[in-house]
Symmetry: C2
Subunit: 660 residues, 2 copies
């Protein structure tokens, strides 16, 4: 039992580490760590099951600091509880280049940072993914292997962002009762009082999506403890509204927006030391306090050891499968099965839409890669994401492998990040490419974190036809290609689609987006090739000796490129075609390979039913681009291709004009 006095001193340790680190950096957010220190202290010292010496223990409780600007709260906790890589030197280097203690918590920088947060609302939406993964793996491997809580700390900003509504509605619907959210209810935002812009009754809001709700004084350890215990007993996710004072302890600035995002200043820090009766100098934690914290960090060692023994004693197959899944290794049979499937495609030469080709590839993949967790933002019949193996997950049954995410692209993508981060599963989504705009912040974070989430994005151009410009991606492929560390695939036929899926799965440390068509496409890869040609990003699809024209294209426009090359060749103009399914992988090839693929033809033409941006890197600013210069239009897709001049004839004419 931790006495009130000990509790207070432990919480104050967080407060002083935070305010001193922000002061030293002359940058950062002291208000939240000071205000939420009591909640965090009770959670970490009495409830959270974790072992700083084994930070990746799969069955640990997860703690997500959704209000990522309060990063010093998390760094303080990691240091105090004894994570080895979070030294006091790191705390002193807060917000300096190269430090683990970045301005916002960055996944991968230090153990114990479960996800990258800062863009508001992302953490709470990630946490729904963590909680889904927990329930799913609990159903699959049994509670002896996976059975843990996911705790989240959110601020007003997280709750105002729309993504939070998508997340909590889904969590409430799925009755994710191992999910516990603390709201640091301090009434302050950057502009001033919350009442400037919001008057939401958050308790009523969470009740409306079927959460268990509790209101407490966020500075009363016993109320905090009772709330956590009540949450543990609930059959629904729990929202704990903890009334706090931002910058708690700072005698002149607490409770105002002045403590939110600026150093307190030497004078106020001195006054806080006096007010909280804290005599240690900056970055020094009194022995009794550090010792109490380290004991808190050691609380779960026995539990963790018992869990490990359980894993040792289970049957070898289940154990190795569990370990494989958490290591993120793919099953051995995958590559052979894809090779067989490619052979079949070379024989049958089907011409489906690539969204259908994706379904066919997934039918092979999902039969082998049992850790895929599919889903769609309410476009299942359009995205073709639900293969025969995919049984829907429901609030009462998590044994399935398919998520009906609802019309919630952003919540879906953020939840997928949480699912991937939890470990043991590979999430893939379904959505329209146009709506990648709705979930772009989460796709970006997946790229920043380097995690394997796979987005199936169908209806990838004006080729979707009648739905018109609101639904026709024109700039989305370019905008996704602009995101560092994201693989953007736009396959041209069933074979390329299978290859792109294989690449997406093999890239454990980056996310992938597959842009797929609504309309049928002819088979262009008609011979079996063992090598994954898409793996080089771009390759010569149609060769020509002494080519005068090189035509570069992706996806649905490969068909146009191939026919244009044929037409040019028939006219005596040697033309070659380069398929470019993935810009990013092509960039990674050797200079020699790149130069070879780009070739020396005097005329370079790129064809893509999208904006030019990005293609100049291949064709040069003097190359010809056949594509979109504006938004699309509503009409049958063949009419649109003609209207916007993306045709075989246009390519041939452009080539001839350039050669003339």
């Amino acid at each position: 039992m931790i006495s009130r006095e000990t509790h207070d001193r432990m919480a104050n340790a967080i407060r002083f580490l935070s305010m001193d680190a922000v002061e030293k950096a002359n940058s950062g957010h002291p208000g939240l760590p000071m205000g939420a220190a009591d909640v965090a202290t009770v959670l970490f010292s009495r409830y959270l099951r974790f072992d700083p010496k084994k930070p990746n223990w799969p069955n640990r409780d997860r703690f997500i600091l959704s209000a990522g600007h309060g990063s010093m709260l998390l760094y303080s906790l990691l240091y105090l509880t004894g994570y080895e890589d979070m030294t006091i030197e790191e705390i002193k280097n807060f917000r300096q280049l190269g430090a683990k203690t970045a301005g916002h918590p960055e996944f991968g920088h230090a153990a114990g940072i479960e996800t990258t947060t800062g863009p508001l609302g992302q953490g709470i939406a990630n946490s729904v993914g963590f909680a889904i993964a927990e329930r799913k793996l609990n159903a699959e491997f049994g509670p002896e292997f996976i059975d843990h809580h996911t705790y989240v700390l959110v601020g007003d900003g997280c709750l105002m962002e729309g993504v939070s509504q998508e997340a909590i509605a889904l969590a409430g619907h799925l009755k994710l009762n191992k999910l516990i959210v603390f709201w640091d209810n301090n009434n302050i935002t950057i502009d001033g009082a919350v009442s400037l812009s919001d008057s939401t009754d958050q308790i009523a809001r969470f009740k409306s999506v079927h959460w268990n709700t509790i209101e407490i004084d966020g500075h009363d350890p016993e109320q905090i403890a009772q709330a956590i215990e009540a949450a543990h007993a609930s059959d629904r996710p729990t929202f704990i509204a903890a009334k706090t004072t931002i910058g708690f302890g700072a005698p002149n600035k607490a409770g105002t927006h002045k403590v939110h995002g600026s150093p307190l200043g030497a004078e106020e820090i001195a006054a806080t030391r006096k007010a909280l009766n804290w005599e240690s100098p900056a970055f020094e934690i009194p022995d009794d306090v550090l010792s109490a914290w380290r004991q808190s960090g050691a609380r779960s060692v026995e539990l963790r050891e018992t869990w490990e023994k359980g894993l040792e004693q289970t049957d070898a197959g289940k154990k190795s499968e569990f370990l494989r899944r958490f290591a993120g290794d793919l099953p051995k049979g995958l590559d052979g099965a894809i090779a067989d499937y490619k052979k079949k495609l070379a024989e049958t030469k089907p011409s489906p839409a690539t969204r259908k080709a994706s379904e066919d590839a997934l039918e092979v993949i999902n039969g082998i890669v049992v850790e895929t967790l599919g889903g769609s933002a309410d476009l299942t019949p359009s995205n073709n994401t639900k293969t025969s193996q995919m049984v829907s997950i429901s609030p009462t049954d998590f044994s399935g492998r398919y998520m009906h995410y609802g019309i919630r692209e952003h919540g879906m993508a953020a939840a997928m990040n949480g699912i991937a981060l939890h470990g043991g599963l590979i999430p893939y989504s379904g959505g329209f490419l146009i709506f990648s705009d709705y979930c772009r912040p989460s796709i970006r974070l997946a790229a920043l974190m380097g995690i394997r989430v796979i987005h199936v994005l169908t209806h990838d151009s004006i080729g979707l036809g009648e739905d018109g410009p609101t639904h026709q991606p024109v700039e989305q492929v370019a905008a996704l290609r602009a995101i560092p560390n994201l693989l953007v695939f736009r396959p041209a036929d069933a074979t390329e689609t299978a290859e792109c899926w294989q690449l997406a799965l093999h890239n454990q440390h980056r996310p992938s987006a597959l842009a797929l068509t609504r309309q049928n496409l002819m088979a262009v890869r008609t011979e079996y090739v063992e090598e994954n040609l898409c793996g080089k990003g771009a390759y010569e699809l149609v060769k020509a000796d002494d080519a005068k024209v090189s035509i570069f294209a992706s996806g649905s426009e490969i068909e146009i490129a191939v026919k244009a090359a044929e037409a040019l060749s028939a006219k005596g103009v040697a033309a070659r075609v380069v398929s470019v399914p993935c810009f990013e992988l092509f960039e990674e090839q050797s200079d020699e390979y790149r130069a070879d693929v780009i070739g020396k033809a005097p005329v370079k033409i790129a064809v893509e039913a999208a904006v030019r941006q990005g293609w100049d890197h291949l064709i040069g600013s003097d190359g010809v681009f056949v594509g979109m210069k504006s938004f699309g239009a509503s009409g049958p897709y063949k009419d649109l291709y003609k209207h916007f001049g993306i045709t075989v004839e246009a390519v041939v004419e452009a080539a001839e004009a350039k050669l003339a």
Copy 2:
């Protein structure tokens, strides 16, 4: 008084026009128009104040079809009530290229389409902007000029999208009691029953953000009428949950997801004709029904005429101001004031951050352009968007000109679209550039619609420093440049910032985004030039005879470019600098001007603290790019510029290496 029988026949006219048009197009969504026909009939035949002969009457009620896939509901209403450009031929051409009847309602295609909808959640969020504009102009010009309702029809999709939460929380907070939302509560989404993915108690949800809520049978005209009247009497926005049957009237498919997004088929249409006792062939409306509808369309003629008389009789100054504001013309004094301001800058040569320069320019602008409505997504002190003229709007006082949008970037951008579409106001926002990702779908729609909304996007690169990669835009400028019809400005100093603001204001038919720095920048435009040089998109800032090196840059990197050119010149290498504040405007210049600005120097270098994508169009694929190749990092910004190699030295070295 419209009898029940007449009502039913009027509603059925919508149903048959919709199902027949979808059938003919072999594409579209009949389910919603059939289900919501009763609600729409009561609204349009008894309450909505509008005049199809004067569709732009500023004081008309607005009707927003947020569930834009049900476009045939709106097109049917426009045809039936007598909008002249919505002919039966247009209805027959539904979803064909060139028709006004696009797959989703497109603003500008036909009168009566108040906003472009389709991407779910946008319409309801636009409507909050319409309702804000109404209250604001009501406070400014008086209820005799502006005093109208905004009605919205939403589906489950709109309500699941996170942006809807941002919108309704803001509307509830502001007590926008002229806003009335009908929920077409049909329990069906594309994947199947809503219960697959959602169990939100929508009534409780809207109550939690302080809306008036009403539940009705959406097929009972009297319940619908009573709900509307209750809404009119409310001091808060009203949410009317109307229980409907999707595809109402189709005997075999109603109430299922089969009627959502596919033609009913000839057989089911015939069965529906029988079930609803409708004998007219496709696209023929019985005379009695058309006559009743046309009478509904003529209901408000007298009101509109009285309003016009009122405007005629008011004092000339107020009248001309009102007309100017709704025409979207700028006040005459603006350009002179900006010229004076530029002269002052040329004298004083200040070196503020461009976010501060933007505030200074806005101080001039807001003093003259009284129709600006500023705001920020809770980053007012960081975005510098609140000038001395800006008084905050509050739930009880709309006389101010500044919106505290809360931490709701998406809701803000969507509301701004509604404010601009309403007319009479020019909305500008404040946000971090990184969070343009959060509101990208709304920025895109502004570009598609061609409306004047202006986004102030500060903290525009690694130059923001310690907040780190989650907050450092790397790909956002490129991603925004990819959006057609959006002007993306990245000014280099206070003078360029003023010029970019001037351009944003003068571009009445496209939105603008201003990327602005957190860090101070030196003045580079030190001489007064009358011409708005930024208006050409790019211009020669530093000239050099027989230049061997051309350095292209934007914003904060202009300083680096200028110093690198000086260093090169000192070494005997003639180097020139081109400032590129706006790619889009540069693209619009003559070939001659473009060639002249790009120049003939053998070495071309671009410098921007962002990804390369887009710059190849200026420097070619063999040009040198000094910028970002990855996400950023947390640290003081000067350290980051060095770490990522975006320095004067790097530019000089690159030039020398290329020349060697």
